[in-house]
């Protein structure tokens, strides 16, 4: 199969986009809710946990250079079990795309266009995701090259503009720790960041396979640093109460920002720009879903699998009826506690063990 190639810098940037896009919107509130001022510590712990998992994934990927997890699962476990794992991964990508799609659509509906029905956003975004997946990973990576820097720049400058309104004592780290709360707060970032498992599928697309490790780690560490910065900035500016009572503190911050005493309420602009990053994330996941499915069934081209995605993604994303359902059931329970641990830790760990055993035999 002719796999499109991206450079290791593009790989890093894609990692950043994917691990930042949705978490910046929903994660700070989850962390602050539990860990309060110790959010940075919770994030640190979460990052460390993810780092351990990434090391596992990287060790697996290094054993089979130039191959994706679906391909070496078939080598390690035989065609049938291997195909099962491939299907699991394809479904995981599709599921995560659907969840992300629904969350994004709900955020748009709540904060930008409250009277427009949800399906318009879902349809628009899934059309976009499928279209760009059709074009391939190279254009997606290029679009990401164009969009990531301005988005980070805008987000960073918004935070810097807001910092003078903050109160120092609201955001300073504290010495009196509440460990249970911190551990509780460390779980969401660890779960969110473990979406980085996509490198198992994307690794063969890297044009210099030896740079996989550094590219992934750079991306992950930058994301976690940026998330820490964002979370602490929310604490500084909004205080614990407001940072944890609003569902999307990032939007509150941009909404209340005032510039020259006359320009304010840019949240619609900033949010839509940020949503473009999310659209790219959706595209990458849709592409990877199709690629996984194609490799599972040994098809030459992944494009045939995009049609089912085009039909199922909107349906999947329309099933959760409200924000509570998507956040509590679909995201916190199924995604964080079932899907992501399985595809990020359990299955790669299993494969790695089998690879080691087979190697010894």
């Amino acid at each position: 199969m002719n796999v499109a190639k991206i450079s290791s810098r593009q790989f890093t940037w894609l990692t950043i986009s994917i691990t930042l896009a949705t978490p910046v919107l929903i994660l700070p509130e989850m962390i602050i809710y539990y860990a309060r001022q110790n959010a940075w510590l919770a994030l640190l712990l979460g990052t460390l946990a993810t780092l351990a998992g990434v090391m596992l994934n990287l060790a697996l990927a290094r054993k089979f250079p130039g191959q994706s997890i679906v391909q070496y699962a078939q080598i390690l476990l035989g065609p049938w079990l291997g195909k099962l794992i491939g299907m699991l991964y394809a479904l995981a990508f599709l599921y995560l795309t659907g969840v992300c799609l629904n969350i994004i659509a709900q955020i748009i509906e709540i904060s930008l266009l409250p009277e427009t029905p949800l399906w318009t956003f879902i349809l628009g975004l899934s059309l976009f995701a499928v279209y760009s997946a059709w074009l391939g990973i190279e254009p997606i990576a290029r679009a990401n090259d164009l969009l990531l820097p301005p988005n980070l720049l805008i987000a960073g400058s918004i935070l810097l503009l807001a910092l003078p309104h903050g109160k120092l004592y609201q955001g300073l780290p504290v010495t009196q720790l509440n460990l249970t709360a911190i551990l509780k707060g460390a779980f969401p970032p660890a779960a969110c960041l473990s979406e980085i498992f996509f490198i198992l599928m994307l690794a063969p697309s890297l044009n210099k396979p030896e740079e996989l490790k550094s590219a992934t780690l750079k991306g992950l560490l930058f994301s976690s640093f940026f998330l820490t910065f964002v979370t602490q900035a929310f604490l500084f500016v909004l205080g614990v109460y407001r940072a944890s009572i609003y569902l999307f503190p990032a939007l509150r911050l941009s909404e209340e920002l005032m510039f020259l005493d006359i320009f304010e309420r840019f949240e619609s602009l900033i949010l839509t720009l940020w949503i473009l990053l999310n659209a790219l994330k959706l595209s990458v996941f849709t592409y990877l879903y199709a690629l996984t499915a194609a490799q599972t069934f040994n098809r030459k081209s992944y494009k045939g699998f995009l049609l089912p995605a085009l039909l199922f993604l909107p349906v999947l994303a329309l099933i959760p009826r409200n924000l509570a359902e998507i956040l509590q059931v679909w995201l916190n329970t199924i995604s964080f506690k079932l899907v992501l641990p399985a595809v990020f830790l359990f299955l790669p760990g299993l494969l790695l063990m089998i690879a080691k055993v087979k190697h010894h035999v």
């Binding site: 001022q37 904060s111 266009l113 009277e115 029905p117 059309l127 504290v174 909004l238 205080g239 309420r265």
Partner: protein, 407 residues
């Protein structure tokens, strides 16, 4: 196949043009600038609004609208309920993003505001940067004022606040978002600006309940102190000054002190910079708070009732500056301490946020005192330190030269 289905699905996306659910042309809005909230008979809430008409940029020959204030009001069980009632007679969509002032009546404030304001905090459309004001007595008179100096109600509120911040420093103006934060924290009680009416003819603030005279303007009149979300008392403009100084929020302001050369005279110190460092902790079961206030000032004017000292040297006297500063320090320290004592005894309101500080910095200590914070607050020991730095007497010498009588 793919392309066909793809384009088929593109069609509904473009078709939702016909829906345009959220498309609202700007002329269909009623532009909300002030919202007044007050309690009404029967436990109901009365909402009063100021709506402004759009301005036409094209010279149409018609005179601009005489009055930029259109007032509507309605009552309901909740605020949102009353707001919807207003739509019964205002056939336009209420536009909240340009809200400038939320004005709360005394009755409602005394009964507690948090549950009522939830609609404002929760709704995405409401501007969280609006200013909050409390009125002495009912809000009704505020809406009867016909401002003459600045007719645009939105601009009026903004300039009122700005002039307060730039020149006076005698009232604590607060945005809705900050009000929300302070209401929500169990360890802090908000202090909010009080809005009154200036009687232009009698040259005084209108007492509550009086009839609004035809010539009147809005004016800020000290601050209101809350305990949790209930109004418990008022701060006079001078007390508000001390409060702002203790918070480090005063940008400018003028404080008169006895002249150091001769206590019969007065010296007005113009404050040009103010910052305050606040620290609190729990020491052996008792809260201790330390406030370090730093002030930068200039000699604004000397009110010389009795003859003043004169100087024979052209140089300024550092000792005089130091004494000026000391005088101000003494006055502010006394004022702040008195204010804090009052907050502990009269209001029983943690106006500086001692509890909030402890909660944020020492969360485990806070867990001990949280349930009984009111009791602990009464026992709080305050340590107020004031440091004044007088930089200059503006452009004139502080002491006039001795002029020899020619005779």
């Amino acid at each position: 196949m793919f392309k066909r289905i793809f384009s088929l699905m593109l069609i509904p996306l473009l078709l939702n043009l016909s829906g345009c659910w959220n498309r609202i042309e700007p002329e269909n809005y009623a532009w909300l600038t002030w919202v007044g909230l007050d309690s009404a008979a029967g436990g109901k809430i009365k909402v009063t609004m100021v709506l402004t008409p759009p301005l036409s940029p094209v010279p149409t020959g018609a005179a601009p609208p005489e009055k930029l204030l259109t007032i509507s009001s309605a009552t309901g069980d909740m605020i949102f309920d009353a707001v919807r009632e207003i739509n019964a007679h205002v056939p336009k969509r209420l536009f909240w993003p340009y809200l400038h002032a939320v004005i709360i009546g005394e009755d409602l404030a005394r009964a507690g505001v948090e549950q009522h304001l939830d609609v404002l905090f929760r709704n995405i459309r409401v501007r969280k940067n609006a200013w909050v004001f409390i009125t002495r007595g009912s809000v009704e008179p505020i809406f009867k004022v016909d401002p003459q100096i600045e007719t645009n109600p939105g601009v009026l509120i903004e300039s009122l606040v700005k002039s307060e911040q730039q020149f006076l420093g005698k009232s604590r103006v607060l945005r809705l978002k900050d009000f929300q934060t302070e209401l929500a924290s169990p360890g802090r009680d908000p202090v909010v600006s009080a809005l009154g009416i200036w009687d232009t003819d009698k040259k005084q603030i209108l007492p509550p309940g009086a009839e609004v005279p035809p010539k009147s303007e809005l004016a800020l009149d000290g601050s209101a102190v809350f305990r949790t979300d209930k109004l418990v008392g008022w701060l006079s403009p001078e007390e508000s000054q001390f409060y702002l100084l203790a918070k480090g929020e005063m940008k400018t302001g003028l404080i008169p002190i006895p002249h150091p050369d001769n206590p019969q005279n007065l010296a007005g110190i113009e404050i040009v910079g103010n910052s305050a460092k606040f620290k609190a902790k729990l020491a052996s079961g008792e809260p201790q708070a330390q406030i370090k206030i730093k002030i930068k000032g200039k000699l604004g004017d000397q009110w010389l009732n009795a003859p003043a000292l004169k100087t024979e040297e052209p140089n300024e006297d550092p000792e005089f500056y130091r004494k000026l500063g000391e005088g101000l320090e003494k006055k502010i320290k006394a004022g702040v301490e008195e204010l804090l004592a009052k907050s502990q005894t009269d209001f029983d309101a943690d106006i500086l946020g001692v509890g909030d500080y402890i909660m944020n910095r020492y969360p485990n200590d806070w867990d001990i005192v949280a349930d009984n914070w009111r009791e602990y607050y009464k026992k709080t020991v305050f340590d107020v330190e004031v440091k004044v730095d007088i930089t200059s007497p503006n452009i004139m010498h502080s002491r006039p030269p001795v002029i020899e009588d020619p005779e």
